[in-house]
């Protein structure tokens, strides 16, 4: 039996598949949906832009004036130059985590937004990918604005800094995958305390505000394997012009983490959303 003539609905099975179980065009419909939902809530975008810039003003410029310079390896940099890439990376993390934990949880558990979506040609993989793309798009906008602010304050030391934008997106990807996967285990809003418990120490101690060599050996090793440290190291190297093939290790780490998270999330969501 075939469809009658005139039923012109798209049925791409393998074309346009970014990941198995994901169709790019369908995933983008979730982005479209979120854009419609946020059309009225554009104020949240302002806070997203403002937050890292406020940190930059208070800690980078303000505290920086007291601290003076930081010595990292064989190099001495003004504190605000040191801290700005850390703030950029942290902002990328925070945005992605917020979108894929809190925001996703509301839609997934309370509004049951995806029950309707999954009755259409979209699949669970498309939904998860769409939410990640949305989080990344938003993160990219914030990171772009922050980079412009850094440029304005004279905190960019190299043309490599252009790559800090995709790097921020990569950090967002890693944390979006992680956040989505973690959210599938959450039962209520109380569980978000655990998210904060993971995020806040990472924000404070991932060489964001002071260099890694302040830690004793074991602790330094521990910090170095956290995803935010990987992101901070990548962004900082690019902004200060310290680029080299070694940075690809950070890139591989972040890609692997995001993909693993997404993979787990899709598998879990299939069971949870389609009982």
């Amino acid at each position: 039996m075939t469809a009658p003539a005139g039923s012109s609905v798209e049925v791409p099975r393998h074309r346009g598949q970014a990941l198995p179980g994901v169709d790019r065009r369908r995933a983008l419909r979730i982005v479209e949906r979120n854009a419609l939902a946020y059309r009225r809530a554009w104020v949240v975008f302002l806070t997203g832009f403002a937050e890292p810039v406020l940190y930059l003003l208070s800690i980078g410029i303000g505290v920086g004036a007291l601290v003076g310079e930081v010595v990292v390896g064989d190099r001495t940099t003004p504190y605000e130059v040191f801290v700005a890439p850390g703030l950029l990376a942290a902002a990328a993390m925070n945005g992605a985590v917020f979108d894929t934990t809190f925001n996703f949880f509301v839609k997934f558990k309370y509004a049951r937004t995806y029950d309707a979506v999954l009755a259409t040609p979209l699949r669970v993989g498309d939904v998860a990918a769409g939410e990640v793309i949305w989080a990344l798009g938003r993160g990219a906008a914030y990171a772009g604005a922050f980079l412009v602010a850094m440029l304005a304050f004279g905190l960019v030391g190299s043309a490599w800094a252009v790559l800090a934008l995709p790097a921020a997106v990569l950090i967002g990807y890693a944390f979006a995958g992680l956040g989505l996967a973690a959210t599938t285990w959450m039962r209520s809003f109380v569980d978000f305390d655990y998210v904060m418990l993971a995020i806040i120490p990472m924000f404070l101690f991932s060489a964001t505000f002071f260099p890694l060599d302040r830690y004793p050996g074991v602790l330094a090793g521990l910090v170095a394997v956290t995803p935010l440290y990987q992101g901070v190291a990548l962004v900082r190297a690019l902004v200060t012009g310290d680029a080299g093939p070694g940075l690809l290790v950070h890139v591989a780490y972040l890609v692997a983490l995001g993909t693993a998270g997404l993979w787990v999330a899709v598998r879990r969501l299939r069971l949870l959303l389609q009982p």
Partner: protein, 316 residues
């Protein structure tokens, strides 16, 4: 009307939730152009079956083919040709009425121009034009239902799955929906519907099955089911006191209703199932039974339903 292979083909279709069996190996076929009904008490497994047909719930065992395809491998292709009204409204509460229609059309890959035209018409059908720019949350229950139904039509589905579509609708809205469903039927749209309103099932369904405790207990057209599982007439006898009713029930049972009728005592009345209502009434009153009121009526699907699925509430 039933040429070609069936639009839905289910064999030993089973749904389990852990150890619990919600749908226990049912067989049915739905043909193109047909309106097919699922009736059954709460918890019988109707919605579980509908969700499997809608390709949002994987089957646990058996075979299921929809539009000639397998839900496991062709879910998106099948769903692109379905319209689904789930039992619980699943509107997007973060969007307006209009945007709900728009984004739903986008999920199906329709262009904005197509959507604008269809959404305008569907909004009129749902009588929600004035609410187009409102959020969905403050709409009344019936309005939400109407929007859910309108939304299910945005992709011009070939197969429409309606899980208790008229629950919560006022009579006007109900009749508007029926009209629309007739029109869709004339256009060749196949419909699968569940309902707790027997009059609705009698009106809409060409064929239906009655489910009880995860199984299909009867199948046929409304007329066939009444012929097979009920008598032509039903006599309802009411009494002023319980004692009178009990005495009458005893007397009637002893004489098989006086005229070969089947006797069913209920808390508030006695039912006599009979091929000849007037004859039975004559025989009964001739027997000295003195009811306070007597009603002779034709059997309905409701009689069939209650007889087949039992009158007690067994909600498990």
């Amino acid at each position: 009307m039933q040429g070609g292979s069936p639009l839905i083909h289910a064999r030993s279709l089973t749904k389990r939730f852990g150890d619990f069996v919600a749908v226990d190996g049912i067989d049915f076929e739905v043909h193109r152009g047909e309106t097919f009904g699922f009736l059954g008490p709460n918890g019988a497994g109707k919605s579980s079956t509908m969700r499997m047909i809608g390709c949002v719930s994987p089957i646990s065992a058996g075979t299921l083919r929809i539009l000639g395809m397998d839900p496991v491998t062709d879910g998106p292709a099948i769903r692109s040709r379905l319209g689904v009204v789930p039992q619980e409204d699943t509107l997007d509460t973060e969007l307006t009425v209009w945007d709900n229609l728009v984004i739903y059309g986008r999920y199906f890959g329709l262009t904005r121009a197509e959507i604008r035209e269809r959404a305008t018409e569907l909004l009129a059908f749902a009588r929600l034009e004035e609410r187009a720019r409102d959020r969905v949350d403050p709409l009344s229950g019936g309005m939400k239902r109407r929007l859910t139904i309108a939304r299910a039509l945005i992709n011009r589905p070939e197969l429409l799955l309606l899980d208790e579509p008229t629950t919560g609708l006022d009579p006007q809205a109900r009749h508007l929906l029926w009209e629309r469903l007739y029109r869709l039927k004339r256009e060749g749209v196949t419909q699968v519907i569940t309902t707790h309103y027997m009059d609705e099932a009698e009106q809409l369904c060409d064929r239906l099955v009655i489910m009880d405790r995860a199984r299909i207990v009867a199948e046929g057209s409304p007329r066939q089911l009444i012929e097979r599982h009920a008598t032509r007439d039903v006599v309802e006898l009411r009494f002023t006191t319980h004692d009178e009713q009990d005495a009458a029930a005893e007397a009637l049972s002893a004489t098989a209703g006086g005229a070969g009728a089947e006797v069913e005592p209920l808390p508030d009345r006695i039912l006599l199932y009979t091929g000849d209502g007037d004859g039975t009434v004559a025989a009964v009153t001739g027997n000295g039974v003195q009811p306070s009121s007597v009603l002779v009526r034709r059997s309905t699907l409701e009689d069939v339903f209650l007889r087949l699925t039992g009158r007690t509430l067994e909600d498990e």
